[in-house]
């Protein structure tokens, strides 16, 4: 039981429990907090996978901005407890089994996908000593066009959110 393995199981357990809490908690604020827990544990998993920059971006953008937006919206709308109604027959006897089957199916196929992945269980895959630098070179040379397009996407989203959320006055 090496330390990385222990860390993986701890973070995986926290992530899975957080995802279950998102489903089972009734108040939206509590679901949001559980989702933040999932995101932070995923950031730790990214660190385990050697993706430091992605872990930092995950915390800054996902846990530090997107989820803050969710929580502010929940606070503004004063979203209260969800009503406790029973699942319909369709949901209980067809939906839930199908959902669980989808999960197990994905687990089965993805666990076999790793063997089909190309090469290199050797080095922890870094072209140079500085993975952030490599990512920067990729983003600004090979993937420059998509990078600029995402800036336009953000601009469009900004304008869209602004227009949609204004009150009609």
């Amino acid at each position: 039981m090496t330390l990385p393995l222990i860390m993986f199981f701890a973070c995986a357990a926290i992530a899975a429990i957080g995802a279950l809490l998102v489903i089972f908690l009734r108040e939206p604020i509590h679901s949001a907090l559980a989702l933040i827990l999932v995101m932070v544990s995923l950031a730790v998993l990214y660190l385990l996978l050697g993706a430091e920059f992605i872990a930092a971006v995950q915390i800054i953008v996902y846990a530090g901005a997107i989820m803050v937006l969710f929580i502010i919206v929940i606070m503004l709308l004063n979203a209260g407890e969800e009503e406790r109604t029973n699942l319909s027959k369709m949901a209980r006897y067809a939906g839930l089994p199908l959902g669980i089957f989808l999960t197990l199916d994905l687990v089965y196929w993805l666990s076999h996908a790793a063997h089909a992945a190309p090469a290199a269980t050797g080095a922890v895959g870094t072209v140079g000593a500085d993975p952030t630098r490599d990512l920067a070179f990729l983003l600004f040379r090979s993937y420059l066009f998509p990078f600029e397009i995402t800036s336009i996407v953000i601009l469009i989203a900004l304008l869209g959110a602004l227009v949609l959320a204004k009150r009609d006055s």
């Binding site: 604020i29 907090l33 930092a56 800054i60 803050v68 929580i71 503004l76």
Partner: protein
């Protein structure tokens, strides 16, 4: 004991963390004393005087007061989130200090050679900003869980303010990163070593003065301090997001705010003021004696104070403090300790200078209104930070041709 031998890095890290926490909590407490004294002097009064000599035991008295106050919980509040919020705020504020390098030297503790900082991550700067951005939750959740109008409004406004000023905070720092070419905090300090014209140290505050001003203003807004403290000011929103908190939980918010101040000042010294680099030329030998000499002079002044000026119990307290100062001064003059103390000494001096600035603005400036505050962040600071980034990258491009 084999545990120590088998996991030397872990044990050394734990020792460093414990020492740092102890030093930090003491520094926090005395930062409150420092603030009250300085703000009092700005307002033509004297500040804490009676609780111990020169009011030096005031933080202890405040701490005891917070512990013994009645701990109320609003009945309709969301218990879990209500208790979580101050813990979250304090723990995040303290975590950032794990990333800050306090000095260059390498020590040998328990046979393991370590640096004067808990970690040395290659993207330390990004992680500091990551932890700062998650710090918004302490405020937002505190406002929500109190289940009351004023905290909710205070919490919403404070979180919107913090998120807005985070953008200009991180953008004003990109110029520094461009000049140094790295995100590692230690390397950022090393990139500022050397001098222009043999006398002016190559600190980033000179080429990046716009970035520094932008960073400092954003930092004051980010930590919810005057003049940006509308969400927690007494005359505006009762006490904003921490209205419904009492005793120990309020103390945690209080400590979190001061810990944030210290963190942001530490970061500003690393990025702009050269971190632990000395402004004096390294060819001179006498700066090595400076920390010890200053502590000894301070100790002698305190002895004078004890013997001549104070009476009674204040005399005993000052006697203890002056003997501690003299002992530390003597330790700093031991030849093997001298080079190790040099780095943290200059770091501390610069951080205290910036904290003095913080307290000075608190005593001097009036408060911003909320819409003025948001306008200032988005319509002035953000364009200025962007312009700084563009000009810096242009200059770097031209100079590297």
């Amino acid at each position: 004991m084999e545990f120590v031998a088998q996991h030397p890095i872990l044990v050394v890290s734990i020792v460093k963390i414990v020492v740092l926490l102890f030093v930090l909590m003491t520094a926090l407490a005395y930062l409150t004393w420092f603030e009250r004294k300085v703000v009092a002097r700005i307002q033509s009064r004297l500040g804490p005087l009676y609780v111990g000599a020169h009011g030096l035991l005031q933080p202890l008295a405040d701490g005891l007061k917070f512990l013994f106050k009645e701990d109320l919980t609003p009945p309709a509040s969301d218990k879990f989130v209500y208790i979580l919020a101050p813990f979250l705020a304090l723990s995040l504020a303290l975590t950032t200090l794990a990333l800050i390098p306090f000095g260059p030297a390498t020590l040998t503790i328990l046979g393991q050679s370590t640096n004067l900082g808990i970690t040395n991550s290659s993207i330390g700067l990004l992680f500091v900003f990551a932890i700062t951005s998650v710090g918004v939750y302490g405020v937002a959740l505190a406002g929500w869980s109190s289940n009351s109008k004023y905290p909710l409004l205070g919490g919403l406004r404070a979180s919107a303010q913090m998120v807005s000023y985070e953008v200009s905070l991180t953008l004003s720092v990109v110029g520094v990163v461009l000049l140094a070419g790295t995100l590692n905090l230690n390397d950022l300090i090393y990139a500022q070593s050397g001098r222009w014209f043999h006398y002016i140290p190559r600190w980033n505050v000179i080429p990046q003065i716009v970035g520094f001003i932008c960073y400092f203003i954003s930092a004051i807004a980010e930590t919810n301090r005057v003049p940006f403290d509308l969400p927690e000011a007494e005359t505006e929103l009762v006490a904003g997001f921490h209205t419904e908190y009492s005793s120990f939980k309020f103390a945690m918010f209080f400590m979190a705010e001061y810990a944030n101040m210290i963190t942001v000042s530490c970061l500003a010294t690393i990025l702009f003021l050269g971190g632990w680099l000395s402004p004096l030329s390294s060819a001179w030998r006498w700066p090595l004696y400076l920390p010890g000499a200053l502590l000894l002079i301070g100790g002698v002044a305190l002895v004078y104070d004890t013997v001549i000026l104070q009476r009674g119990i204040a005399r005993i307290q000052l006697a203890v403090i002056s003997s501690i100062a003299l002992a530390l001064g003597a330790i700093c003059l031991i030849p093997s300790v001298m080079p190790i103390v040099q780095g943290p000494f200059w770091f501390l001096l610069k951080v205290v200078f910036l904290l003095f600035f913080y307290v000075w603005t608190r005593g001097t400036l009036p408060r911003f209104r909320y819409d003025q505050l948001m306008d200032f962040g988005w319509k002035f600071l953000l364009p200025v930070a962007l312009a700084n980034l563009v000009v810096t990258s242009f200059v770097v491009l031209v100079l590297n041709r």
